[in-house]
């Protein structure tokens, strides 16, 4: 019951936005802020009360929805989803703070944002394939609207491109889900389907191909990524926070939660490919990021690149790798959200996102410059910051399973360091350029959006067990499930 209440708690925000028909922009913003705090606070409550026992019956709920097809309303929390469940609530709050610069259609903006939050929370709590798919898709229209209404001049084509690509992926995935559920019962309960059941290996491979395709488009894994750049570059900053922080993880989470444990024999032949795609993401992302003149595009490719570690960790099939991947989902969300917001602040204070027009930010905007350095160091995987732990675990796990891919991924870290340091050198150091000469540092509201993210990156770097202790029991179950049937 608690989980259902949290998942649907963004509706409070939707309702508030509908009621505040004649309120001024300021009131609307603070109301949105308050509404966005509700899910986050309740998730904190769950963490402190049930952190070690997420399988507590008061967190799960299950009743029949469509009896004849074995589809149920089944929700609950586990270690795989909890980190992202938390991050969805956190990043929505951050997105509300980061959207202080939205001036037009403010009420619809927050309404759409809250509906997106509902979908994201739902995905990480769903324990039924069709429910998972429904929440997965509920995020789609809000994202399409956020990009299409509030984005820059290229927004219309970016929005529809995003929609068509990811809808193609998810429709193929739906066919896979339906085939999986209908052929095993029919039953769509994720728990009941664990281990692959009685499906032959050939069937499993076909189903795994359908489901993997859908999930990898969502991530996006590199040959399937062509929708991404336009969308990332065109969307408003607060939408970037969710686009890079949460949406890719709908794909990676689907891999860990559904594809791997439900179709172990079917996914197995694809694992080397997934690992290789992860490495391609890392290396391709680094190279392309290196060449971007636009700071936002650089961050976008950096974000694609570091998603590769999640794919590598998942494909390893061992506890170390999967733990790393599950944690990387959260740390990746924190750092990419941090960098995107910083890009937004820099762009609004200097009037440009072009790296060659920036320079000397450390002198003019010390807080922003310092946090940009922290974010970049984090992306490089410097020890002491959250990403280091998760990347290291993913690479070690991946290396055990696929040595070549593991070594190449480690090489990718070096490439990452190259473009990030080069970017830092040109933006925060060096001579002050005309556009940065008059720039002032981030204001209190802007700092409120970025400081929590930076703090969490540091805290998770020092105490990774805060997260790992929650996710470990479920990861062990998954490992047992794969090992038991492979």
């Amino acid at each position: 019951m608690i989980t259902t209440m949290i998942v649907f708690s963004p509706l409070i925000g939707v309702l508030l936005m509908l009621l505040l028909r004649s309120a001024d922009v300021r009131t609307v913003r603070y109301a949105a802020l308050g509404a966005a705090a509700v899910p986050l606070l309740t998730v904190f409550y769950v963490y402190f009360v049930y952190g070690s026992s997420l399988d507590d019956p008061s967190l799960t709920q299950s009743f029949d929805w469509i009896v004849s097809l074995g589809i149920g309303y089944r929700v609950g929390l586990d270690g795989l989803g909890f980190g992202m469940f938390f991050l969805s609530a956190l990043l929505t709050l951050i997105a509300v703070v980061a959207s202080w610069d939205i001036r037009e259609n403010v009420r619809p903006y927050f309404t759409v944002l809250f509906i997106a939050e509902l979908g994201m929370l739902g995905v990480f709590a769903a324990q039924d394939l069709i429910l998972f798919y429904a929440f997965f898709e509920i995020t789609l229209i809000p994202m399409y609207l956020l990009v299409g209404i509030w984005g820059d001049e290229n927004r219309r084509s970016a929005a529809i491109k995003f929609f068509i690509y990811t809808f193609l992926g998810s429709t193929v995935m739906l066919a896979g889900f339906l085939a999986l559920g209908m052929l095993s019962g029919p039953d769509f309960s994720i728990e009941a389907l664990g281990g692959g059941g009685t499906l032959s290996q050939t069937t499993q491979i076909v189903l795994a191909a359908l489901i993997l395709f859908g999930l990898l488009v969502k991530v996006p894994a590199v040959p399937l990524h062509s929708w991404l750049l336009d969308v990332y570059v065109s969307s408003p900053i607060s939408t970037n926070v969710l686009l890079s922080g949460i949406l890719p993880k709908l794909g990676t989470y689907g891999l860990i939660k559904i594809a791997v444990p439900l179709l172990p024999d079917g996914v197995e032949p694809f694992l080397p490919l997934v690992a290789a795609l992860g490495v391609v993401n890392i290396i391709y992302g680094a190279f392309v990021a290196f060449m971007q003149p636009d700071l936002k595009a650089l961050v976008a490719y950096s974000s694609i690149g570091t998603l590769g570690f999640i794919l590598l960790g998942i494909s390893s099939g061992n506890a170390l790798g999967i733990n790393g991947a599950v944690m990387q989902q959260v740390t990746h969300g924190l750092y990419s959200a941090l960098l995107f917001i910083l890009v937004g602040i820099i762009a609004s204070h200097t009037g440009t996102r072009r790296i060659d027009e920036l320079g000397g930010l450390a002198a003019r905007m010390p807080y922003v410059g310092g946090l940009l350095a922290l974010g970049a160091l984090s992306a490089m995987g410097v020890p002491g910051l959250g990403i280091f732990v998760s990347e290291f675990m993913s690479i070690m796990g991946g290396y055990t399973a696929f040595p070549v891919q593991g070594v190449l991924a480690a090489l990718g870290i070096v490439l990452g360091a190259m473009y990030l340091l080069y970017m830092l050198q040109r933006t925060i150091f060096g001579p002050v350029k005309p556009s940065t000469a008059e720039a002032i540092d981030a204001g209190p509201i802007e700092m409120a959006a970025i400081v929590p993210l930076a703090l969490l990156l540091v805290v998770l770097g020092v105490f990774p067990s805060l997260l790992i202790s929650v996710q470990e029991p479920t990861v062990e179950l998954i490992i047992a499930m794969i090992g038991g049937s492979a």
């Binding site: 029949d64 929805w65 469509i66 009896v67 004849s68 097809l69 259609n105 619809p108 069709i130 798919y133 429904a134 898709e137 509920i138 789609l140 229209i141 399409y144 609207l145 299409g148 209404i149 927004r155 219309r156 929005a159 529809i160 929609f163 068509i164 809808f167 193609l168 429709t171 193929v172 739906l174 066919a175 339906l178 085939a179 559920g181 209908m182 052929l183 029919p186």
Partner: protein, 480 residues
């Protein structure tokens, strides 16, 4: 021969009520030709009473066959009668404003109810000649409905095309019926089934092909779909909406009954034909819809595509998939009713040019939201109604285990994506474009708005009703 008893009248009570309402509307119209509130109110009340009677029959579990087993009342028939009569109710509400302006409101409304009457009779028929007669009863008034708008040149033109192709289709259907009657010695489906077992005779096969072709005309399946865009574009909005939903659902129901009760043994012959029809229909419908700038015409091609989706369920009517496939047709018809009626009615609220939807989100947010809901539902995005229809069709295809059904389902997946650009082309205009200079809110649209809002809510909250609806569909599918 069975006696006509009180039970017969109970069984026919929805049809009798629909008939009486349409006659009352006409008669009241003679004395009050200008009072559209009165005639439309009467028509709406008549459809509500008919709806209530159907619900009562369903609730008391009324079953039975009448007129020498030619006419049956079962949950399956009652389910479709509910869809038909509900569509009629919303259509009457949405039609009132336009019909009032023509000055011929009583005739228009009575014709609408007559189409509903034919469609309601059709879903109960277990006799091939009965099927033919009720199809004609539903079709002949619909020719008049399409050609009703004398002020627009497209209307008589569309009506003419519809009559000519419709006549050909009826002849083909009748020819097929007669051939089957000749082979089986009876037009009753139970007796037909005994003949259509084992290897089909050439004449029987020809009869089957002609019968299916006739039905393909009526549901606008490719290659018999040419009349659809012209007829729907010419027709008054409410007529196009109604014809794309109610008679079509009833025709699918009749086809389902004929194939499953009359020719279950010949499934290996007709199921692949259905798959081919389905695949061709979806692709043609969607590819042509992509090119349309006129919303009415786009929705006409969209309705062709959706006929293709339903035909994909027909391809899955075999093996373990049979039950799920029948349920798929039932669920899809309900889902399609709420979303497609709503989408068509939007034309009367906004306009038929795609550009008239520009910036609607800024100028008329609630109406804009409704359009977004209908478009998303037609694409098949959860939680809107169309999603559940697609779930059932794909599930049935998988369950049936036949290659033809797999291909039809694969085509459905591809076509869902193919349809996004044109549905979301409208959504894009609604949300992303600047409003046009002159976006006056049309006057007197209260009843249309009521229909649209109710349909939008039903489309959105379909997930809440899907449990009971699926239960009903489950019981109904067991009867065939």
């Amino acid at each position: 021969m069975q006696q006509i008893t009180a039970g017969t009248f109970v069984a026919l009570s929805p049809e009798i009520l629909a008939f009486v309402s349409s006659m009352l509307v006409l008669m009241v119209g003679i004395f009050n030709p200008r009072s559209v509130v009165l005639t439309a109110g009467l028509a709406a009340l008549g459809s509500l009473v008919t709806f209530a009677a159907t619900v009562v029959l369903l609730a008391i579990g009324f079953q039975g066959s009448f007129f020498g087993d030619g006419y049956v009342v079962d949950d399956f028939a009652l389910y479709f009668k509910l869809i038909v009569v509900l569509s009629a109710f919303f259509t009457v509400l949405a039609a009132a404003r336009w019909a009032g302006r023509t000055g011929d409101a009583p005739e228009y409304l009575a014709l609408t109810l007559s189409v509903a009457l034919g469609a309601m009779l059709l879903v109960s028929m277990r006799d091939l000649f009965g099927v033919f007669v009720s199809i004609e009863l539903a079709t002949i008034p619909s020719y008049a409905l399409v050609a009703f708008d004398r002020r627009r040149r497209e209307s008589p033109e569309g009506g003419m095309k519809y009559i000519l192709t419709g006549m050909v289709a009826s002849s083909i259907l009748l020819y097929g019926t007669v051939l089957i009657y000749g082979v089986a010695g009876s037009a009753n489906l139970t007796l037909v089934a005994t003949t259509f077992a084992g290897t089909l005779s050439p004449v029987g096969l020809l009869g089957l092909v002609l019968l299916i072709s006739g039905f393909a005309f009526k549901v606008s399946a490719v290659p018999f779909h040419y009349w659809t865009p012209d007829a729907y574009q010419g027709a008054p909005t409410s007529a196009a909406a109604f014809l794309s939903v109610a008679p079509k659902a009833a025709t699918f129901a009749a086809l389902l009954r004929i194939l499953l009760q009359g020719m279950p043994e010949a499934v290996s012959t007709w199921a692949p034909v259905m798959a081919v029809l389905a695949i061709a229909t979806m692709f043609v419908g969607n590819l042509f819809a992509l090119r349309q700038r006129n919303v009415r015409r786009m929705l006409a091609y969209s309705s062709v595509a959706h006929s293709g989706y339903v035909l994909a369920a027909f391809a899955a009517l075999q093996g373990a998939g049979t039950d799920v496939a029948v349920q798929a047709v039932l669920i899809y018809s309900a889902a399609y009713m709420v979303m497609n009626l709503g989408a068509f009615f939007m034309i009367d609220l906004v306009g038929e040019d795609g550009k008239s939807f520009n910036g609607l989100f800024v100028t008329r947010p609630s109406v804009a939201l409704c359009m977004a809901v209908f478009m998303a539902a037609l694409v098949g995005i959860p939680p809107f109604s169309g999603f559940f229809g697609k779930v059932w069709i794909i599930a049935a295809g998988v369950q049936s285990g036949s290659i033809a059904a797999y291909l039809a389902v694969a085509a459905l997946v591809v076509n869902s994506v193919l349809s996004v650009p044109y549905y979301f082309g409208i959504t894009r205009n609604v949300f992303f474009e600047e409003p046009l200079a002159s976006t006056e809110e049309p006057k007197g649209t209260g009843a249309i708005k009521f229909s649209v809002y109710v349909l939008a809510v039903a489309t959105t909250l379909f997930a809440l009703f899907i449990g009971p609806l699926a239960g009903l569909a489950g019981i109904s599918s067991g009867l065939l």
